[in-house]
Symmetry: C2
Subunit: 146 residues, 2 copies
Amino acid sequence: MENELTIGALSERTGVAPSALRFYETEGLIHSSRSPGGQRRYGRDTLRRVSFVRVAQQVGLTLDEIRTALASLPENRTPTAKDWERLSSSWRPRLDHQIAMLERLRDRLHGCIGCGCLSLSFCKLLNPDDRAAQRGPGPRYVLDDD
Amino acid sequence: MENELTIGALSERTGVAPSALRFYETEGLIHSSRSPGGQRRYGRDTLRRVSFVRVAQQVGLTLDEIRTALASLPENRTPTAKDWERLSSSWRPRLDHQIAMLERLRDRLHGCIGCGCLSLSFCKLLNPDDRAAQRGPGPRYVLDDD
DNA sequence: GTACAAATTAAAGTTCACTTGAAGTCAAGG
DNA sequence: CCTTGACTTCAAGTGAACTTTAATTTGTAC
């Protein structure tokens, strides 16, 4: 079967840049075999793997977390729908949580706009104790509250 | 009035690290006067300004966008509640949009978990054309879809 | 058989939002 | 006066997720 995809084909099918795909490979998120000349060739299941990575990113996972998740897939066989379902179903609570958080922010903001306050002394919106402590340097995802 | 705050005091009241406050100053987000010895002193309205920055970040704005927003405040007088309300009320649509996006993701994901698919060929979840084109390098905020 | 697009590598660069470190100065209590 | 903790500046470092560059090789279509 000449079912194998070049990096360009995989890129087009997934919407992920070739440079990103190579980066994913160095990060251990996807794997490739090589053509006689040394170019990458991907099996069709890599489409699903890349898809998983991108959806997981939308959910807010870091590549590190995604790698961990992917590591729990079986290595001896192509993952089944059930395998993927098991991984992605763990996102539900996370999504629910993120949604709830944004709604809370929106509604409090509405109240604060109504009362005209936006200050630490009067407004619960910004109580530092309400928010997660920051950990480590670098940018933090806006919705991340652990 | 000895109403002026040191950087340490402002840091404690806002929960923002002194290094971050200095950084905000170099970025033009806040301003300070100086003590005779050259240390920073902040007026009490800076509390509100810092608060605004943090809430705006939660909403998903970059510091660049926040600076632009702050630039529309009057320079000749201390901003009133109405001034702050005008700025923050523009977040409503953005928040609504973000919430809607997450809900869409959650519900589609639910459907895809149900049908067992998670693949480009069958699942609308990942249609690249559905998603915003990426622009520029660097990390992107998970919910940012412009 | 040759042109030309698409692939290869390694190393360095980018963005954002800060933090850390070094080497020193200021402010307040005793 | 002296100590101690809070403050100062400037430059460089951090982490995530890639992209860019450069110099070279491979694959394919005519």
